[in-house]
């Protein structure tokens, strides 16, 4: 699809690159990303040591389906998981580890918006459920950490991705794409409730 506003974001993720992204833009991400979901977030939040240096890195909220084939790891499905579950943990992780890019799905809370402003970070929204399209953007599995402790879905996978499509949902100025849609839909919903009663 030809999109006029398409931006490219390439590893290493610099503050300048990330700072120039704006809410609502389409982005293609390339380079190294680390998957992390519930177990990993809680672990890092509780002061656990990260197996990799997360400064200027990208965290991808994803629990992939990965199988072992002839001694190599193969990603069979890798879409985003709901990011809001990490809302209690994520702001501290962004701040303490200097994470530059978050990729996930769904709306996020005020604390993540604040952390994006303070840390010069962005939250990118990938298409939920698009596990095959997105697995197709993984060009290499570089490493896996905490595989046996957390299980393969909860492990931290170091993945190299190429032209991974997403939308800027929160930019480094803290502007949120979904917040506006939320408040508009609430207003419309209130009106719909009060009009044209449904009768038997």
């Amino acid at each position: 699809m030809a999109i006029a506003s398409l931006r490219k974001l390439e590893y290493p993720f610099t503050p300048e690159q990330v700072g120039s992204l704006r809410t609502g833009q389409f982005v293609w991400v390339s380079g190294l990303v680390y998957t992390a979901r519930d177990r990993m977030h809680k672990y890092l939040f509780d002061g656990g040591k990260s197996p990799v240096d997360l400064k200027n890195s990208a965290i991808y909220h994803c629990g992939p389906v990965v199988v072992r084939k002839e001694g190599n790891w193969v990603v069979r499905a890798a879409g985003p998981t709901t990011s809001l579950r990490e809302e209690p943990y994520l702001p501290r992780i962004i701040k303490e580890h200097g994470v530059r890019v978050i990729i996930g799905k769904g709306s996020m809370g005020r604390e993540t918006e604040k952390a994006c402003v303070e840390g010069g970070c962005v939250y990118l929204h990938a298409v939920g459920g698009a596990a095959q399209v997105l697995a197709g953007k993984v060009v290499a599995v570089k490493d896996v950490y905490f595989g046996s402790e957390f299980g393969l879905a909860e492990a931290m996978w170091a993945l190299e991705i190429k032209d991974f499509p997403a939308i800027v949902a929160i930019d480094s100025r803290g502007r949120s794409l979904m917040k506006k849609i939320q408040s508009t839909s609430r207003m419309i919903g209130r009106k719909l409730m009060e009009t044209d009663r449904f009768e038997v």
Binding site: T82, G128, A131, I167, I181
Partner: protein, 294 residues
Amino acid sequence: MKKYTQWEASLFELIRRTSVDLPADVEQALRRAHKTEKKDSRARWVLETVLENVQKARDNDAPLCQDTGSLIFYFQVPVGFDTNFLAAVTRMAVARATRFGYLRQNTIDSLTGESCETNVAHGAPIFYFEQCARTTVDVRLLMKGGGCENVGRQYSLPCVDLNAGRDLDGVRRCVLDAIISAQGNGCAPGILGVCIGGDRATGYECSKTQFLRKLDDRSSVKVLGRLEERILKDAKQLDIGPMGFGGNTTLLGVKIGSLSRLPASFFVTVSYMCWAFRRRGALLSVRGGFKKWL
């Protein structure tokens, strides 16, 4: 032993196909929705990606979504059929499908946090058995991911906050509230299964069995059919859209059922199914042989 293998093979094939192949009616609804969204819009981009994903999953013979979900099996069996045996062979098929990567290791011990390697554990997979006057086995499988499961809701009427009384307009208000609360977080465009009545447990159960219905059907209870259409029409105006990025396509369908209730209870239960609506059925012989897709 031969009989046993046949069962396992048929059930394995059901799981495999459910995981990789979106039902035709759902794909059609997504295609129709795609045409209604504006060119270059985020909504259209999402639906385009989704449709590409549906095709890729089939081509790659790999899971549509990495969250292969709760596995909910609905069996209709002849009277006197050994359902313990059926549960046992289904568990074997689930473990095998996990080993082959059609299912993610997706089952967590709630007390220890440990991940289960086979997806066969306490309460997983989920079974419903019904004995009927029939000579074959009808099995339906739903795979329902956690993201959409988390946005399900149960209301108790009357609900003062929503100005919802104990009538069908009260039901409509609850369902609208559920849609608005969910936003795009359950991977919109979604499909709603709604139950009016029942108790807290059967309400959810009945709301989920609504997902066994085809998208283009309409409740045979006339007033429920009307309510389904009305809610679908209301939802179009909310501008939540695919993934909650805005747009016309917030829902692909609304399916409503009802159960009787106690005088004091009036529950409205809403289950949300993501666009990756994995639903398949198969007709099997009493020896486990595959007869046809349902």
